[in-house]
């Protein structure tokens, strides 16, 4: 049931992308998002599409697996598209009724926004698909470590993030088990009106909270038993170090961003 959500779930494979330093991938995601929202015209779009296809290809994650993740945001996409379509009053008008307009700019915006969102989800989920949560927080901690100087507890934030991420699958599994245990006693989580549905959540939420608090308690105890005392003086077993491929990746990324910006300046068609 709940296991079927693939959006951003790590997909184990042996590829160049999987082996990249997580900092590179964080940076790449940022560059990709910037490119996605600065590009204009068909040429920039082609470059981004090419890059995305290339990345998916070398990541060895099956395309169908990535697309499955898109299912979760279909509703969001539809709403965005419809709003852009009927609420843009500028451009050549084809049809209007009350506050609703159908214009050339509106159609353009709707298409563009939908493409941007789809690309955004595919691109960012490619990062989480190829990076384990632990690598991700490791990368984040290292990348943000300069902020330590202005007294932002980067280590604590990264630790909280990795614990939170670590607990998601555990809590999902736990929810699954509790749901089954209550369904075995005749509980019904699907039928009924809104109030009945909310009420039917009680037998699910109480055991879940009880167990989450117990787990948090146990974890804190286990960490203290191993002398955890925050980031001060803490070293890593496998410190992150840039390799040759990481440097190449940085070069490719910068080149990619420059290309997208150049394309925006040179060829703006169509607007």
């Amino acid at each position: 049931m709940l296991r079927d959500i693939t959006l951003g779930q790590y997909y184990p494979a042996d590829s160049v992308v999987h082996k990249l330093d997580p900092r590179v991938k964080l940076f790449a995601t940022m560059i990709y998002i910037i490119a996605l929202f600065t590009f204009q015209g068909i040429l920039g779009f082609a470059i981004i599409t090419g890059m995305l296809i290339f990345m998916i290809k070398i990541s060895k994650v099956p395309f169908s697996y990535i697309v499955k993740g898109l299912k979760a945001i279909v509703v969001l996409l539809l709403i965005t598209a419809v709003f852009n379509l009927v609420f843009t009053p500028t451009g050549t008008e084809y049809w209007h009724w009350g506050p609703f307009h159908l214009t050339s700019t509106g159609i353009m915006n709707a298409v563009l926004m939908t493409i941007r969102l789809i690309y955004l989800i595919i691109g960012t989920s490619l990062m989480t698909l190829t990076t384990t949560p632990n690598q991700l927080t490791d990368g984040l901690e290292k990348a943000l470590s300069p902020l330590n100087r202005i007294h932002i507890p980067v280590h604590a934030i990264a630790m909280m993030m990795s614990i939170a991420l670590r607990f998601i699958p555990i809590l999902i599994e736990e929810t699954d088990k509790i749901m089954k245990a209550q369904m075995a006693r005749g509980a019904d989580f699907e039928d009924g009106n809104l109030i009945q549905k909310a009420k039917s959540m009680v037998p699910l939420l109480i055991p879940l909270f009880v167990s989450a608090f117990r787990r948090a308690d146990d974890l804190a105890m286990a960490m203290e038993a191993r002398c955890y005392s925050g980031g001060e003086g803490r070293t890593k077993m496998k410190p992150l170090r840039y390799q040759g491929t990481d440097r190449k990746a940085y070069v490719i990324l910068i080149a990619f961003l420059v290309l997208v910006i150049v394309a925006r300046v040179l060829l703006r068609w169509p607007q």
Binding site: I178, K180, A181, Q182, A184, R185
Partner: protein, 287 residues
């Protein structure tokens, strides 16, 4: 009264992804009314999956399950009715206790069956009595109880729905030896007195040897043995090879037989072993 037939059941987790695991392979089983069956297998052998298929919480990837001659995968089959017929008690009672008092918690099942308040309370009361739960704890919150008492409340919670078949998934996990014996004794008593079919899932032969009249051994998602305890334990060497062990007395009587004492190697319980050893010694005029 329930008669369950499993026909060529296959089950695959996360079908079509990188995490694909085949949990059950071509499982054929027949469970008769009133049987007391032990399902044994080590972690990951598919025994928990099997139990969840039996009351429709999971749907088999292929194959059919017939309960009282009806295919439970037929369209319009009443799954809710199946779940009151085949009761399943999960391993950890913490996964189901949620009400403010033990009594209210046990009422949850019958309430979902749509009974009226009087019947619900009657059933809850009866179920708690049947599991030997002390009356002074009836109106205490279930969260502060000991492991053994929590387990009793959890079993009562399912028993209150009056199932024909009761499946217990590792009911002794995490209990001390005394608590373990109490729960197993209780299960055996329920089988005798209430006449319900019981499926006891466990990874310990010792747990089940004394009580059940049929053992199903699961290994890598397939049924490895399905026979009387004596017959299954006769294969104790094969059981060892798959990471399971026969009860200690099986080893003892085999060892004694090898050393020339004419004992009956089919003894599975401590009492039987003691008897056969005594009679063998008498035969040899040692005592």
């Amino acid at each position: 009264m329930a008669e369950i037939i499993l026909d060529k059941i296959n089950y695959t987790y996360s079908d079509g992804t990188a995490y694909e695991i085949q949990a059950l392979k071509d499982v054929n089983l027949q469970i008769h009314q009133g049987e007391f069956i032990g399902i044994i297998g080590h972690t990951g052998s598919g025994k928990s999956t099997l139990t969840q298929l039996l009351n429709g919480l999971l749907r088999a990837s292929s194959g059919s399950i017939y309960v009282d001659g009806q295919d439970i995968y037929d369209e319009g089959y009443d799954m809710k009715a199946l779940r009151s017929k085949v009761g399943l008690v999960f391993q950890y009672p913490d996964h189901q206790l949620f009400e403010t008092t033990c009594f209210e918690d046990v009422c949850f099942g019958p309430k979902n069956q749509g009974l009226d308040r009087k019947d619900i309370e009657l059933r809850a009361f009866e179920a708690l009595r049947n599991v030997g739960f002390p009356e002074e704890l009836f109106y205490q919150p279930p969260f502060d109880l000991s492991g053994g008492q929590k387990r009793r409340v959890a079993i009562a919670g399912v028993l209150a729905m009056k199932p024909d078949v009761l499946i217990l998934d590792e009911p002794t996990a995490g209990l001390d030896p005394a608590g373990r014996d109490e729960i197993l004794g209780l299960v055996s008593k329920m089988h005798r007195e209430l006449g319900i079919t019981i499926l006891l899932v466990s990874h310990s032969m010792e747990d089940v040897a004394e009580y059940v009249d049929r053992i199903i051994v699961m290994n890598h998602g397939a049924v490895m043995f399905d026979a009387l305890p004596k017959q299954v334990f006769a294969h104790y060497k094969e059981l060892e090879a798959v990471g399971l062990a026969a009860p200690q007395v099986t080893y003892l009587v085999h060892e004694l037989a090898e050393r020339g004492l004419p004992v009956d190697t089919q003894a599975t319980t401590a009492r039987e072993a003691a008897q056969t050893i005594l009679s063998a010694l008498r035969e040899k005029n040692v005592i």
